[in-house]
Structure formats: structure tokens, C-alpha cells
Symmetry: C2
Subunit: 342 residues, 2 copies
DNA sequence: ATGAAAGCGCTAACAC
DNA sequence: GTGTTAGCGCTTTCAT
């Protein structure tokens, strides 16, 4: 059985030119007489030549591939489409730039070393990282790899160094609470998310921005899950039987809260108005009543992350984190989507 | 600025041995005196040596990477966690075998050529492919790349050639319908999925297996979405006001059907019992009442796909689809999960 | 504009 | 056991 993959050499022979010429043609064909170029192209076609990436990377030191690192698959990531949409945006942008997407799913701290090794191992040109927990070491490990990186979601409270893309969690939360207030609600509660995630913290901050004097008993802690939402809602109802509105840190939480509200005979939105966050459609449209919520354009965020990284790669070349070439972070806008719950 | 990445050569010099020895140590160290091996390891450590994959692939012709090809991101894939869970299973298995996951998201037919090129381009050792539509050319393109491949979901009605992993759609459907019958239901309807997907066809076949004489008017066509489920349910109700049970092709469809049932004042499960398929928890647990459904172990299916492929790679070496080395397909079992709707 | 030649960093015979 | 050596397939000066 003959080797199924012809080499540059074979194409050169077939076309009656040198390897160098074939290489030029294959890489855009700048500075090659068109008559020759044509001949080469024909040979490429006839032989079904496909360049060997490994050989190419060996000399160019580029891989046209970026890693996408996603941690904490145990939780939210795998029960809402957030992650999938984000990936889709990333994929679109990378594809447009002929870059490949290498997915690194991190199951736990045991995987950190592996990821660090991979990133340092020169397989990819850059990394897109979804960091979630505040005290996580992953961001540091990744920064240690010295690979150009863009984070998805604000990495931590102080983090200035690495660029990231996040939606305006705080502003979106403010909008949600203001909406509730504009509806005439006076006892507006908040079910927060897990406060080791910046998104949850920011949403809580947004709530407080609008209601700085709110009764602390009106804030309960959830965990971004429906079960957490139920628990928090029960607690809130117990301590604040008079509440007339709830801003939930995400849609899943709101769904749980809604169930408890029904259970307790509260009508939504008549007795209690509810607003969620995310606009994750399969949930927000399925709830009873359909959920008013704060939408973020997740796919666009993914696309932006990829764009930021690719731009850094183009420019940076070697020294990707020299300050002036470092791309700035991006905060994407949110929008209130009114359905029936508020 | 000095090159930040030391080579084998550098390590060899630093350790006072030959490149070959370093290479041996780095690749497991078989047949190297331990005293030397230690010295090498120390050198590796001190220099922070990381092997250059491109160089290695160039000679070994292995990449320790497999592509995961996912088509039709427009629809279902990105609104249910199915895909994420599958990926997670795949990732776990690949990671365990030190293989990387390269994700190829296919947005439309325009992308087919790109995918074909990539797969043929020798970037990866094999491919895991989620093919969904019956008349799709993607499977053929992929087979054309001559890359060892495992499909997720039965690729098409006749497909014998390529191994795949799928759940027992037909058997699961039978179980669902039998359960409904065991509840004493006599007018059992079915809302089918899009029949250009084998899973939808198989589930319909399962329904018919149990109810070969069922009134054809009891079968309506959905599309795996809640909206489709609503539409189909209305239609069914119009033609069969006496129906007392519905087997929906998936959970999303069931959620839509449930809403219409409520709208029409039918009590579930008293008047009409409902069973779904998939057990996608965020949906099945959120419906009112919580959905009885057929569960498939999605993560396990992903894991199996990867395992099958890796096994083929180990054995096959070059000729991966020689008949005797081809791994057989796997059908995974389903299980009825009883909640409140039936 | 084109070709010749020198590697990129690694593995795998093969010799010692 | 260990070192020597010959490439893997490609890009890229450097001549011409």
C-alpha cells in the first residue's frame, strides 16, 4: 500500500518545479509566475496534496489553534446552554480565521497540572479560559504558561492583568431592580448566586446600588440552581411575608423561586413580581408565567473573546503581554426582556 | 531574549548524555540505567523542558488528538445539555488516554469542505462525529477522509460500515408506551420528532411495536422543540378529544404538550398521562407536573464513543477500517424514570 | 521569479 | 545500555 499522503516533494516533481515554488504557491502564491502557479495548483489537485501541519508548525512555530479551557463541568456549565452558546461564538470566530479549537475540560484540581503542561507545551497559540471561582489557582497556572490568554467572565475581584470579556452584570442587575421598582414594588428581595463567582457578586452589587437601604433580610443566598432558588425563596417568604418582588441571580434560580411562590399561593406577577438573569430561553420561556429576565448576548461574548485573542496573536507575535499590545477587556451590554413575570 | 524553550539537545548537553537517551527517558525511560535516567530527569526539570509536539508528530505520525465534529448547532444541540454531557464523557475518556479533543462545530453545508480538509489534513488520529440528518453528506465526506471514526447516534437507516454509539431509542420507546398501557390507558398518542433523524424514527417505531394497530390519527409530528410539541398537541386534541395518554419523542416536546394540556383543562396525569424521552433534568424536573421520561446515559455514551475510537486506533494502526479490526457499534440501555406525569 | 540547501526538534534504526 | 545518524515534511534565507 502506497503512502496515501503526497508530500511537497511529490507535488514539485509532478509539476516540474522545486519544492520552494510549491510551498510559495500553497501559501498564497505571492511572487510566482501565474503560469507556474497554475501548474502547481493542478498538481496539488491531481495528487490530492494536503500540507502536513506538524512539519509546518515545526518551522513556523505557529499552530493555528487555540485552547478553550472550561472548568467546573460539574455544575452550571453542563446544565445550561450558556457554555454551548459561548463555544459556538468562539468557534465561528476561530473558523473565520482558520484557527482550530482545542477543548480542555477541567474536571477538578487534579487536572490543573495537565492543563498547565498542555498550555506550556506549545500545542496552541493562545488560550480562552472560563474561570469561575474567586480563589481558584487555575488563572495563575495559566498565566504561568505565558500564553496569550483571554478570560471569559471577570477572573477575580482585583484582576487587572489579563483581558476578559464579561457582560455588564452589575448594570443588568440595576436595570432589573429598577424595573421592579418602576412597577411600584416596595419590598424587593434578591436571591444571590454563589458569591465565590464574580458574576454573582456583581449582580448583588447591582441590586444594592439601586436599593442601598434595603432590609438585609431581603437578600438570600442561592447557588444558581433551581433547588437553591426554592430554598432561598422559602427562607425569604418565612422572614418577609410581605415581599412583593424578587430579583433572582439567574433564570434557574428564578424557576425554583416561582415554584415555591405558587406553592404558597402567591400569584405572579400580581402578588409577587419576579425577574431573572441570563435569558436562557429553554428555561425562561418554559416557566409559569414566562420569565421577565435580563438578557446577555452569550454567543457574541464568545465571539469577542476569540477576536480579542486573535488580535493579540497577530500583533504580539512573541511578547504577547507587553502592556501596549495587550488587548483591553470588554464589557458587553445587557437588556431587559419583558415576559409575564414582572 | 533567549529562546524560552529548551530542546532535547539542550537537555542532553546539560545532562551529559546523547539526545537519544534523553528521548528514551522522556518517553517512558525503558532500557536506560536508572542513574542516567535520574540525571536526565533532573536536567529536564532544571531547564523546564517540554517536548515539542510538532517535531514529535512529524516523525511518529501520531497526534494524540481526536476531532469531535458536531453539526447543526442551530437547533437542539445548543438548547439542551445533551451535547455538553456527551462532550464531557468524551473528554474524560480522552484525557485518561492523554489524547486531546479538537472541537469542530459545523454551522452549515458551507463548512463541510473545511471539515473534510481538516480531517484529511492529518491533524488528528481519529474523529468522533455527531451526525443527525438522514440525507446528510457529512458522514460520506468524513468516511472519505479515511480517518478512523465513530458516530454518535445511528448515522442512517442502512449504515453498516461505521461504528456508532446510540441509546436504545426503540426499546426505550417501547418501555414508555408499555408503561402507559400498564396504567390502563387506551388511547395513547405519540408526538414524533423530526423524521429525518434516526432517533425520532426509532422512537416512532418503538411506539408502533407496542401499538401496531393504533389509530394513525394518534400520531402527530413534532420537531423536538416545545413549540412543536404545543402544535402537535393541539392537533392531537382536535382530532382525538378522547386521548388519555401521550408519549412525546423528547422532553422538550413533552413540555410543550403539557402546557397545551393545561390550557385545555386536562389534568395530568389523571386525564392524560404523559411520558417524555431523554430525561434532560433541567426540563423534566421543571415541568408541571414533573415529567416521567425515558432516561439515557448521555455521558456514558460519550465515553463509549471515545473508548471505541481509541481502541481502534491502538489496533488499527494504519488500516483502521479493515473489517476485523473495526470496533462494533454499541447500543446503550435506557431506563424509565417515574415522576408525576405518568 | 525560481531553485538549492539548511535546518525546525524529534524518534528510530542501527551500530557499538 | 548508549550514542550516531538519518530522516519526518515543511519554510526560508540565500544565490542565481
Amino acid at each position: 500500500m502506497p503512502d496515501p499522503r503526497p508530500t511537497l516533494e511529490a507535488v514539485a516533481a509532478h509539476a516540474g518545479v522545486s519544492r520552494a515554488t510549491v510551498s510559495r504557491v500553497v501559501n498564497g502564491g505571492a511572487g510566482v509566475r501565474s503560469s507556474l502557479a497554475e501548474k502547481v495548483l493542478r498538481a496539488v489537485d491531481e495528487l490530492g496534496y494536503v500540507p502536513n501541519q506538524a512539519a509546518r508548525s515545526l518551522v513556523t512555530r505557529r499552530h493555528d489553534a487555540v485552547a478553550v479551557v472550561i472548568a467546573e463541568p460539574e455544575t452550571r456549565v453542563f446544565t445550561d446552554p450558556f457554555f454551548a452558546q459561548q463555544l459556538r461564538g468562539i468557534s465561528k470566530e476561530l473558523t473565520a480565521q482558520d484557527s482550530q479549537l482545542v477543548l480542555l475540560l477541567v474536571e477538578g484540581k487534579d487536572d490543573y497540572a495537565r492543563v498547565g503542561r498542555y498550555l506550556a507545551g506549545g500545542h496552541v497559540d493562545g488560550a480562552l479560559v472560563f474561570s469561575v471561582h474567586l480563589d481558584d489557582e487555575l488563572p495563575d497556572i495559566i498565566r504561568g504558561s505565558a500564553l496569550p490568554t483571554v478570560f471569559g467572565g471577570r477572573p477575580d475581584r482585583g484582576g487587572r492583568r489579563t483581558p476578559y470579556v464579561d457582560c455588564d452584570n452589575r448594570g443588568g442587575a440595576r436595570e432589573a431592580v429598577r424595573h421592579l421598582r418602576s412597577l411600584g414594588r416596595e419590598r424587593i428581595a434578591h436571591i444571590a448566586g454563589p458569591l465565590d463567582q464574580t458574576s454573582a457578586v456583581d449582580r448583588l452589587d447591582g441590586y444594592r446600588d439601586v436599593l442601598p437601604e434595603a432590609d438585609p433580610a431581603l437578600v438570600a443566598r442561592g447557588d444558581f440552581t433551581p433547588a437553591g432558588g426554592e430554598r432561598a425563596m422559602r427562607e425569604l417568604l418565612a422572614h418577609n411575608p410581605d415581599l412583593d418582588a424578587v430579583f433572582a441571580a439567574n433564570d434557574l434560580t428564578a424557576a425554583g423561586a416561582l415554584r415555591v411562590l405558587h406553592e404558597h399561593g402567591r400569584r405572579v406577577p400580581e402578588d409577587v413580581a419576579v425577574v431573572g438573569f441570563d435569558d436562557m430561553e429553554p428555561v425562561a420561556e418554559q416557566t409559569n408565567p414566562p420569565l421577565t429576565t435580563v438578557r446577555q448576548d452569550i454567543e457574541e461574548m464568545g465571539r469577542l473573546m476569540a477576536r480579542l485573542l486573535l488580535r493579540a496573536l497577530e500583533r504580539g507575535g512573541d511578547q504577547a503581554d507587553s502592556l501596549d499590545t495587550a488587548p483591553a477587556s470588554v464589557i458587553t451590554p445587557t437588556a431587559l426582556v419583558r415576559r409575564a413575570s414582572a
